[in-house]
Amino acid sequence: MLFNSLEFFLFLPIVFLLYWFIVNRNLKLQNTFVLAASYFFYGWWDWRFLSLIFLSTISDFILGILIGKTDDQKIQKRYLYLSFVVNLGILIFFKYFNFFIEEFSRLSEAIGLNANYSTLSIILPIGISFYTFQTLSYTIDVYKKQLAPTNDFISFAAFVSFFPQLVAGPVERASTLLPQFLKKRQFDYTKSVEGCQQILWGFFKKIVIADNCALFVNDIFGYYEYGEVSGLILLIGAVLFVIQIYADFSGYSDIAIGVAKLFGFQLMQNFNFPYHATSTTEIWRKWHISISSWFRDYLNKPLFFYFRHWGNYGLIIPLILTFTIIGFWHGANWTFIVYGLIHGIVMSIELFSKKTRKKIRKKIPKWLNSSMGWLITMFIWVFTCIIFRAENMTLAVNYIAAIFDNLFVLDMTQVTSRIIFQSLLITLTKGKVLFLLILFMFVIEWIYRKYTYGFKLNFKIPFLNWVFYYSILLLIILFGEFSQQEFIYFQF
């Protein structure tokens, strides 16, 4: 079920009312209901894949108990590895199997072997990268003794499948979310109002900004003869994609966090206004925080420890490795690997140029330093996002090359440029309106940048809050794109 679908608009109020009025008597009922609602939510897309969530849940539930039962570290480690095998096994099979087969075939052919390995027709289950990492965090935390294993299967199953964040995160740590399932939730008016604000803002970002940007982005990126198009149009397409992916994913996260608040849960902040960042390192502290911090804690830190005697290489290797794997986490495509690799390299450069940059910072005004930092960061981000968006590396390279080849070719007599440019302007009388709406989004988020989400209205006169709520609601209704475009991160 998509958040931006009619079904969800019916599902949410029904589940909300039943949750607070019918099953509110005790904790067990609350959790059983959350579990049932979550399975219903996921099963609406494809009920067959519920078995995967169940498999992941039951295996980690049992392994958690087994880890907790023994003091023998060797045995505990074996159980932990078994948890890795089950969860990553499911993930690798469904997400990466065909990629590895294809690459292996290619490699075999390159060295002269007559390889003919056939791929399988595999559907990628929605949310698999999110819930497998969430449930993995449980066994790791239990193994590290940061969390006591739970004996309450229903609560654990509800934690793994909690519907607001099941399909695209935030990927919660067991140590922060699971305890919330072990306490009876009480209705909190302030939290619920905040939840509604965040949901409203999330829908605005997704339906108004991201999905309208998508109309243009799909047109521009979908026209594969990039050499025929003005570089300026391609650059506009890339910038719009950067805006789309932020509005889409942070919009999703806002809705997920807001919905969770309505049910008495607090999820972690997933975006902290990343486009205000002045370095790539800072962007990654603010972008998809739940997954980047997951990799930082469970991969990067152990790698740093492992390579601690390698001097400077001991700093670079873990960083580049971690970000390459983060890139690969997004999907089985070289574009994602390259995307992650470039970010890893850029962050390594930033790490080693820290002192030099500090010296420069002292010599130039603060505003100039921030602006330069922001421009360089955004330049790198935009161009790596082209790689991220492209279907394959060849198209990504062609796209970037065409931007530089034709950047100053503003000759709109080029047929394709003219067609694309016209569609840009016409689709939303639309270009003008979209530009203003994007501006509005960034201004609002700049005003509320000190808070955990970009629309934390708190006027002393409640009437003013309501004026803003209605304005956003009307913007969604009047300018929203309701062709039910999936959230970009669903494919990961």
Partner: protein, 286 residues
């Protein structure tokens, strides 16, 4: 909890009335909606259609499908009102009816449409946004026959389409499409509303001519030179209004079209001249 539910109920109740008001405002003052950049496809049709209620400052009115719109674009002249084929013949009828009412000096109506647009059935994916949402209003309701009304309201929710705010709501589009193939004879509503159009023009002493738009040559063979449609027109007693329609039909090669029924730019001037020439011959001199 009670406080939350009360507030959220008030929020949505006030929101409902606000939206209702905006829906009515958009219908009555389309310029306002246009100014704030509202550009949904149903509204674009509604906006053009609402011009039929204005003074067109001409004795002749051009109606038609989007192919006709290439030659007589509504942006150029007030008496050019071709919109598209998906507004169906009932849409053309409502435009004609409004224009006659607001323009007592009107003497001729020329409907230029591809035979497929004239034949078009109601049950199509484009019908909701091109005909139902823009034309199904309280004001236009008297123009809706029982048959048409039955088709429009085949799904219960569409009964509310006559209110402006429902047209604005997300997820309010209904797909009327059914599996029947494209028609090469006049559909039931086309037939009914062609008759109504003829009667309307006769009653108001207005010359009505129907001219074919440019047609892809492949249809000549496919329809056996429109044998069925010709027979139907004869049988239904509409020969007079379709006088010259088939005889003057001009065919072009498929590659002379951009898409479907839309001619490439370089052929437009030639075809427009051809239509104007024929029209002079077809319109009886008063």
């Amino acid at each position: 909890m009670k406080r939350f539910l009360v507030r959220i109920s008030i929020f949505f109740t006030v929101g409902f009335f606000l939206l209702y008001g905006i829906g009515e405002l958009f219908l009555r003052y389309p310029v306002f909606a246009e100014k704030i950049g509202y550009s949904e496809s149903w509204f674009r049709v509604y906006k053009i259609a609402s011009r039929s209620k204005e003074d067109i400052n001409s004795e002749i009115l051009y109606l038609g499908d989007s192919g006709a719109g290439q030659m007589f674009p509504y942006t150029e002249q007030k008496h050019y009102l071709p919109i598209n084929g998906a507004i169906l013949i009932p849409g053309q009828y409502i435009l004609a009816s409004n224009a006659i009412k607001s323009n007592p000096n009107l003497k001729s109506i020329v409907l230029i449409a591809n035979p497929l647009s004239i034949a078009a059935k109601f049950e199509d994916s484009f019908t909701c946004n091109n005909f139902v949402k823009p034309f199904y209003t309280k004001e236009n309701l008297p123009h809706f026959s029982d048959l048409l009304l039955k088709k429009v309201t085949i799904k219960p929710v569409t009964k509310f389409y006559k209110y402006g705010f429902v047209k604005l709501l997300p997820f309010s589009d209904i797909d009327y499409f059914n599996q029947q193939p494209e028609l090469t004879i006049l559909s039931d509503i086309s037939l009914e509303y062609t008759r109504k159009l003829v009667a309307l023009c006769k009653k108001n002493n207005i010359n009505l001519t129907i001219h074919s738009g440019a047609v892809d040559i492949k249809y000549k063979e496919k329809t056996n030179d429109w044998t069925e449609m010709k027979a139907q027109i004869k049988k239904e007693g509409l020969t007079e209004v379709f006088r010259g329609f088939f005889e003057n039909m001009k065919y072009y090669e498929s590659n002379q079209f951009i898409t479907g029924q839309h001619l490439r730019k370089e052929y437009l001037a030639d075809f427009k001249a051809y239509i104007l020439q024929n029209q002079k011959q077809l319109v009886p001199k008063n």
